[in-house]
């Protein structure tokens, strides 16, 4: 298993995904900080206000889209030059193959979150010179959204595995982000609707709109949903591989 993950990283090593992994969170923080700077008169809660600004577009769109791009890239290599035949000939189970992909993508996703957190800290501490202490909740928001991102990874991995095109899964990811925002914003349709799509879960987990800590029960529901989505998409992926083999 560790071998497979190592191989996945070897494949990703020479790609440009690491550039995207740095640039996209950086631009997100830059964008949010600019908005915070322009609205300092209204946004008075220093770190919390900055968080609402930097995580808004990042949580709504760009984190998911970056994951989608990485998934597409990761599966593109298997779609090229009949690599599927080579993959299926490896002495590993389908479950191991799928999990190694998801784990490697999730590790890259963790790096993206870490880079985002570092940029957020540097901006707050050194650019705006906040006097208040760094809020510990941010670690929970970053951590929980990373855990939720694993379900996004498994979903996007399943989509990219089944669609040979590099770009279409990214377009679908953007569409799902839009649906996710709908689930999150229109609470009139049902408070629990947010738990029915990984994208809306991610938005909720990032807490871009509500800087108060969520209830423990809500975090538990999020984690259960994440687990169910991850298992569900891994199961679908295995079925797809079997179809490909046949």
């Amino acid at each position: 298993m560790m071998n497979l993950i190592r191989i996945e990283f070897m494949k990703l090593k020479k790609s440009n995904i690491w550039t995207s992994a740095v640039i996209i969170p950086m631009i997100s923080v830059f964008l949010g900080s600019g908005n915070y700077y322009l609205n300092r008169e209204i946004l008075k809660s220093e770190w919390y206000s900055l968080w609402t600004q930097v995580s808004l577009f990042y949580g709504f769109f760009f984190y998911t889209i970056t994951i989608a791009i990485i998934c597409s890239y990761s599966w593109r290599m298997e779609h090229k030059d009949n690599n599927w035949n080579r993959i299926l000939a490896l002495p590993y189970s389908y479950l191991q193959l799928i999990i190694s992909k998801i784990v490697s993508i999730s590790i890259v996703s963790l790096c993206i979150q870490a880079i985002f957190l570092i940029f957020y800290y540097v901006t707050g501490k050194f650019v705006f010179g906040f006097k208040t202490e760094f809020p510990p909740e941010v670690f929970i928001w970053v951590g929980i959204s990373w855990i939720i991102s694993i379900s996004v990874c498994s979903m996007q991995s399943f989509i990219s595995m089944n669609i040979k095109s590099f770009s279409v899964p990214v377009g679908i990811a953007l569409f799902l982000c839009f649906i996710g925002i709908g689930f999150y914003v229109f609470k009139g349709l049902g408070e629990n609707l947010v738990y029915f799509l990984p994208n809306s879960l991610l938005i909720k987990g990032m807490s871009s709109n509500e800087t108060e800590m969520l209830k423990v029960s809500e975090y538990i529901k999020m984690l259960i949903s994440t687990l169910l989505f991850t298992v569900f998409f891994i199961y679908l992926s295995i079925i797809s591989i079997k179809k490909i083999r046949n």
């Binding site: 790609s15 440009n16 995904i17 550039t19 995207s20 640039i23 996209i24 631009i27 997100s28 830059f30 964008l31 600019g34 908005n35 322009l38 577009f57 769109f61 760009f62 889209i65 970056t66 791009i69 597409s72 890239y73 593109r76 090229k80 040979k164 095109s165 590099f166 770009s167 279409v168 990214v170 377009g171 679908i172 953007l174 569409f175 839009f178 709908g182």
Partner: protein, 258 residues
């Protein structure tokens, strides 16, 4: 000429299995979703037919914000899709040995997707008007502003499309174009927040430059909308830039051996 038309129809046949219509439909759903969200907003509904609320322009503005966020990705996706079908199985060589020159490939592929995009854009314009009427705007449609806005959107998309088209054709790794589109969307949103003097240099924020109203303070904690003159530079700059990139990349790709 007949030869070119035949090649054009061959190219279009290749796109049948690319699900381009489905991709356009997804993005149309998202753009119109944003417009409908604005139209159903209670603040918008409460002032819907007051002349000072510029209801039509508010709808157009929300549409332009949707364009800033979604359009770069759509353009990157479709350009990547049409270039990538030739990468599989190295169809470039097949094309070249079938009597296609590199310029023809470049022109015909671009024309095929650009025409499809124009149809999509016109359809969105019609839907925008239908949504406005359906939600109860009885005021006359600002035809001139709407037409200039739609033409400008097409020109901006043309310029962005030429950039992504070049990247998709030049680099087999489609990650480059897609990643640029995400950065483009982000820079477009940044452009909305920056002063116009700076954001004029960000092509991706030009959709937002077409916004035709701005907020003005009318009293303590009271804000009103003010009409701003139509901005024509997004149309002119994008058209010129698009033509330049198109000609330049056509020449550049001609020299490359696929």
């Amino acid at each position: 000429m007949i030869n070119k038309i035949k090649k054009f129809s061959v190219e279009n046949k290749k796109y049948r299995h690319l699900y381009l219509s489905l991709i356009f439909l997804l993005f149309l759903f998202m753009d119109m979703g944003i417009v409908i969200m604005t139209a159903l907003d209670s603040n918008f509904q409460s002032t819907i037919n007051k002349p000072e609320s510029y209801s039509w322009l508010q709808l157009i503005n929300s549409y332009l914000i949707a364009k800033t966020i979604f359009m770069p990705t759509l353009l990157a996706v479709i350009t990547s899709r049409v270039a990538d079908i030739e990468n599989r199985g190295d169809m470039w060589k097949v094309l070249k040995t079938s009597g296609w020159t590199m310029e023809e490939i470049f022109d015909i592929k671009f024309l095929s997707i650009f025409l499809k995009y124009i149809i999509f854009q016109i359809l969105e314009g019609i839907l925008l008007v239908l949504v406005g009427r359906k939600v109860g705007i009885t005021m006359p449609i600002p035809v001139e502003r709407l037409t200039v806005t739609l033409i400008s959107i097409i020109a901006i998309s043309f310029a962005i499309m030429t950039i992504h088209y070049f990247l998709a054709m030049r680099y087999e790794n489609q990650l480059i174009g897609l990643a640029l589109s995400v950065c483009g969307s982000l820079s477009g949103i940044i452009g909305i927040l920056l002063p116009f003097g700076i954001s004029r240099f960000i092509l991706y924020s030009y959709y937002a430059h077409l916004i035709s109203t701005e907020f003005v303070k009318t009293g303590k904690d009271q804000w009103g909308l003010k009409l701003v003159p139509m901005r024509l530079y997004p149309l002119l700059v994008s058209a010129l830039l698009g033509i330049f990139v198109f000609v330049w990349s056509r020449r550049k790709l001609k020299k490359l051996d696929f």
